[in-house]
């Protein structure tokens, strides 16, 4: 019941805010509508009423609940306290993620400010997704631009970088995009978390563990290249998530994606350096801005023994274009045509120039066997369900690992495919579902697992364990993802850049990194992570924590404080 009431509050709030925003400049001159008696009292003070703006309304800051995301919750608590120092009436409202998401994504005018996080994914190693999706005006209505950021120059720049195939030119554009964001402050950035991973160096040779930029040592390359020290050759890692599905046409849970990557090959792979490199393709050749010639490796075989053919490749890119794999559809939407050139070569024709084609399409689409999926898709076309609901009994791909067993909520077992061109050194790859991180750590210590691929817990605990046990190696990697406070640019007072800048100044990034992240994070200043060294703008305004600076920015923009210390809008607003 209370929940209903709660959800009405923001509506009312938005209504009031909306009205006051719509109200013409004459608003202050007219009787102070809805003004509290205190405001009237203040007007009787020494200063003439006309010179004082209206009271800045109450602000509600959303966050996840403490139990589910203590980092977010605690950071929010700190920021809220600091915002109060600015003379604001601020309330911290924690709610389960589902409710928070419901409000932020689906009720875009009904919230003001929220703590949020963007997670790192392999495809995000190219800045394109964040640069375009997060702030382009076209995604403001329904897409990722939930803060409703509107900037014409940004729209131009972000799309231009997408169309450019020249790396240096693209870098300049991406830097400009970062500058715009840093100045306009739609987000108040907090930190790029560092992901701690650990493995047993008495099982895996340290020099065969690959640290990928922005992703960490838990990556495809490690899985394929890790070399056992002794007889134990099973690569055993943990996940706290359950495995949802093993399906090449369904982007499901985070844990699932690691499995799909290993079972199914792709034409290209994002390398440890973050750049795409040919994989199942022997070569990828840009004939011009819209035509790409891809040559398939020789001698590849599906796990059922049949050869991988050019027809399979074409099928793999055509299948997602139907409605049967909605999640993969965006990755092939700009492909106008695929043409078989010879038994090993295909030509992709794009509908428009697309710089991210390699990363977002060639390195994204799983190669699937036509002889298996064609009848399945034909059957599904007649049904309500699509390919996402289809679980093969034994998934067949051509990748470096073959499927052995899937015990939902227990484990997934894959075995090495010795016939693969990049045959793994490990003999099996076993993903254990261990809901409690502490159990996972215990199992790493006694060798039940030998690769800690997820650590939701306190990184200092892991550090302590690694320090005490010489055969446990800890590797922390700065993420592509980041944490931030999103400010709804559509609603007051966050519709004012100066106000947003002031908020950015009261986010104590250093303290949060030190106390809440326990040092396992880097203060953030951009939506392009420092992990992406090449793309990250090295010289952005930092908004280091300073209440004075925040007040100064507000004062310069014409904000005032009444004698009770409450923040008021600039006169005339």
């Amino acid at each position: 019941m209370r929940r209903r009431v709660l959800s009405i509050l923001p509506v009312l709030l938005a209504l009031v805010l909306g009205l006051s925003a719509c109200a013409p400049a004459s608003a202050p001159a007219s009787a102070p509508q809805g003004a509290a008696p205190e405001a009237a009292k203040a007007e009787q003070g020494a200063e003439p009423a006309a010179e004082m703006g209206e009271l800045v309304p109450q602000i509600v800051v959303l966050s996840n609940v403490q139990a589910a995301d203590p980092i977010e919750f605690e950071s929010t608590r700190l920021v809220v306290e600091n915002m109060k120092q600015l003379g604001l009436d601020v309330e911290h409202r924690a709610m389960p993620w589902e409710q928070q998401a419901d409000l932020v994504w689906y009720n875009r005018t009904e919230w003001q400010m929220t703590a949020w996080r963007m997670v790192g994914r392999p495809e995000r190693l190219d800045p394109d997704e964040f640069v375009v999706n997060l702030f382009h005006s076209s995604t403001a209505e329904k897409g990722y631009n939930f803060v409703g950021f509107q900037n014409d120059r940004y729209d131009q720049v972000s799309l231009a970088q997408r169309a450019t195939t020249d790396r240096e030119e693209r870098r300049q554009l991406i830097w400009e995009a970062q500058e715009i964001i840093a100045n306009e402050v739609p987000y108040a950035f907090v930190a790029y978390p560092q992901l701690p991973f650990a493995y047993r160096s008495d099982v895996w040779k340290p020099d065969t563990i690959v640290d990928a930029k922005g992703i960490g040592i838990k990556n495809f390359w490690t899985f394929v290249q890790a070399e056992p020290v002794g007889d134990q050759a099973d690569f055993i890692l943990n996940t706290g998530d359950v495995v949802q599905a093993i399906n090449p046409l369904f982007i499901s849970g985070a844990a699932d994606s690691w499995i799909t990557e290993l079972i199914w090959d792709r034409l290209m792979r994002v390398g440890p350096d973050g750049l795409p490199q040919p994989w199942a393709a022997e070569s990828v050749e840009w004939e011009d801005n819209t035509n790409v010639l891809v040559t398939l490796r020789e001698g590849m075989k599906w796990h059922d023994g049949r050869p991988v053919t050019v027809e399979d490749v074409i099928f793999s890119f055509q299948a997602p274009a139907t409605d049967e794999a909605p999640m993969y559809k965006p990755f092939v939407s700009k492909i106008a045509g695929i043409e078989k050139v010879d038994e090993r070569t295909v030509r992709f024709t794009l509908s428009e120039p697309w710089a991210a084609f390699e990363v977002a399409s060639l390195a994204k689409i799983n190669l699937i066997p036509k002889h298996i999926w064609e009848p399945i898709l034909a059957d599904l076309a007649t049904k309500e369900e699509n390919a996402e609901s289809y679980q093969e009994e034994t998934p067949i791909g051509s990748g470096p690992f073959r499927f052995v067993a899937f015990k939902p909520s227990e484990e997934v077992i894959l075995e090495a495919n010795p016939e693969h061109f990049a045959a793994p050194k490990a003999s099996r790859w076993i993903l254990r579902i261990i809901p409690n991180v502490e159990s996972a750590l215990g199992q790493l210590r006694n060798g039940e697992i030998n690769f800690l691929s997820e650590w939701e817990g306190d990184p200092t605990v892991l550090q302590g364990v690694a320090d005490a046990d010489p055969s446990i190696e800890l590797v922390a990697t700065t993420e592509v993802g980041f944490r931030f406070f999103a400010m709804n640019n559509r609603v007051a007072p966050f519709d004012d850049t100066a106000f947003r800048q002031a908020v950015a100044y009261v986010v104590p990034k250093q303290a949060i990194v030190q106390n809440i992240f326990k040092g396992f994070a880097v203060p953030a200043d951009s939506h392009v992570s420092v992990a992406l060294e090449f793309w990250h703008h090295p010289d952005l305004p930092q908004y280091d924590f300073s209440l004075e600076k925040a007040r100064e920015v507000l004062a310069q923009a014409g904000y005032t404080w009444d004698e009770e210390g409450r923040l008021r809008y600039p006169a005339g607003r």
Binding site: A67, E74, N436, V437
Partner: protein
């Protein structure tokens, strides 16, 4: 956690009858006078009630306050004169949380006990006294309640409504009246055949008067028995629900503390000072309920009595 185990009494035994208010009061006093365990139980509750009432004076800090010194959080501090039980991984005083946790435990425990005992007693009285279709209906309802898994229901309710201790109490009230209701009904069935009830009826007393003045006093000890057991169930349930992460995030309870410790690797840190005290408090308070329950049981079912 099975709920049916609330009663340790063989169903076949017929409880000792009690009639009249004076005898009723005397019996309640007798419970604590005669049974040392019941007295211990009462003392434990008394202790926790005092702690809960005096929490702001006993606890050195506010339970969720992050304690800092020069901008550094005092996290993972071991027990010391400043922090009797150390601090959490986010720099909160564990002792203060423990003290405030007693408030939640008692609030949940007593309100659930009252709800369960009240509903169960009224259902049992009405079903047993009126019989007929009322009885059939209520007892079918009890059968249904017996078919609903308790903890899963609490989890679902709390997740669907909102994570609040009142929803835990609600879930308990929805289900746990079943044991109380059944036992009290059968007791009413025997009591209502007794001479004094017939006498009251002949002297022209109305149904309500008979029910509440003549029958109710003799079954109230049974309500108390089930009520005191319900206190324990409620505290345990709240702790379990909190532990599974469905608890009210704004309410510090012992279950919340254990959940916090569990997800903050207190075990790996060897932070026994964080893990052990909340569990002990839960255990003590639940045990106190059992002790008092046993006291009533031994008075009600004298054959079990020990010297």
């Amino acid at each position: 956690m099975s709920v049916q185990s609330a009663s340790l009494t063989p169903a076949a035994q017929e409880p000792r009858p009690v009639s009249g208010l004076a005898q009723f009061v005397q019996m309640n006093l007798e419970v604590f006078r005669r049974d040392r365990m019941a007295l211990v139980g009462a003392c434990i509750y008394l202790f926790f009630v005092l702690v809960a009432l005096l929490a702001p004076w006993i606890a050195p800090y506010s339970p969720l306050e992050v304690i800092q010194e020069n901008g550094i959080w005092l996290a993972n501090e071991p027990p010391s004169p400043r922090f009797y039980l150390g601090t959490t991984n986010l720099g909160r005083d564990i002792f203060s949380q423990l003290v405030y946790g007693s408030r939640t435990a008692l609030l949940v425990g007593f309100s659930a006990a009252v709800a369960v005992a009240l509903i169960g007693t009224v259902v049992g009285l009405v079903a047993g006294y009126y019989g007929g279709w009322v009885d059939t209906l209520l007892m079918r309802l009890a059968d249904i309640a017996f078919g609903v898994p308790f903890l899963p229901l609490v989890i679902v309710l709390v997740a669907l409504l909102e994570p609040s201790i009142w929803n835990i109490v609600l879930a308990m009230a929805l289900l746990l009246w079943r044991d109380t209701g059944r036992v009290i009904r059968s007791q009413v069935l025997t009591v209502k055949e007794r001479a004094f009830v017939a006498a009251a009826r002949i002297s022209g007393a109305g149904d309500l008067r008979i029910l509440f003045l003549h029958i109710a006093p003799s079954i109230l000890p049974l309500s108390f028995l089930y009520g005191s057991l319900a206190i324990g169930w409620a505290i345990l349930t709240e702790a379990s629900v909190s532990f599974l992460g469905f608890g009210d995030p704004d309410v510090v309870s012992w279950g919340f503390m254990l959940q916090d410790a569990f997800v903050s690797q207190a075990m790996s840190r060897g932070a026994y000072y964080w893990i052990v005290p909340p569990g002990l408090c839960i255990m003590l308070s639940v045990m106190a309920g059992f002790f008092i329950g046993r006291g009533y049981e031994e008075i009600l079912f004298p054959r079990l009595r020990r010297s």
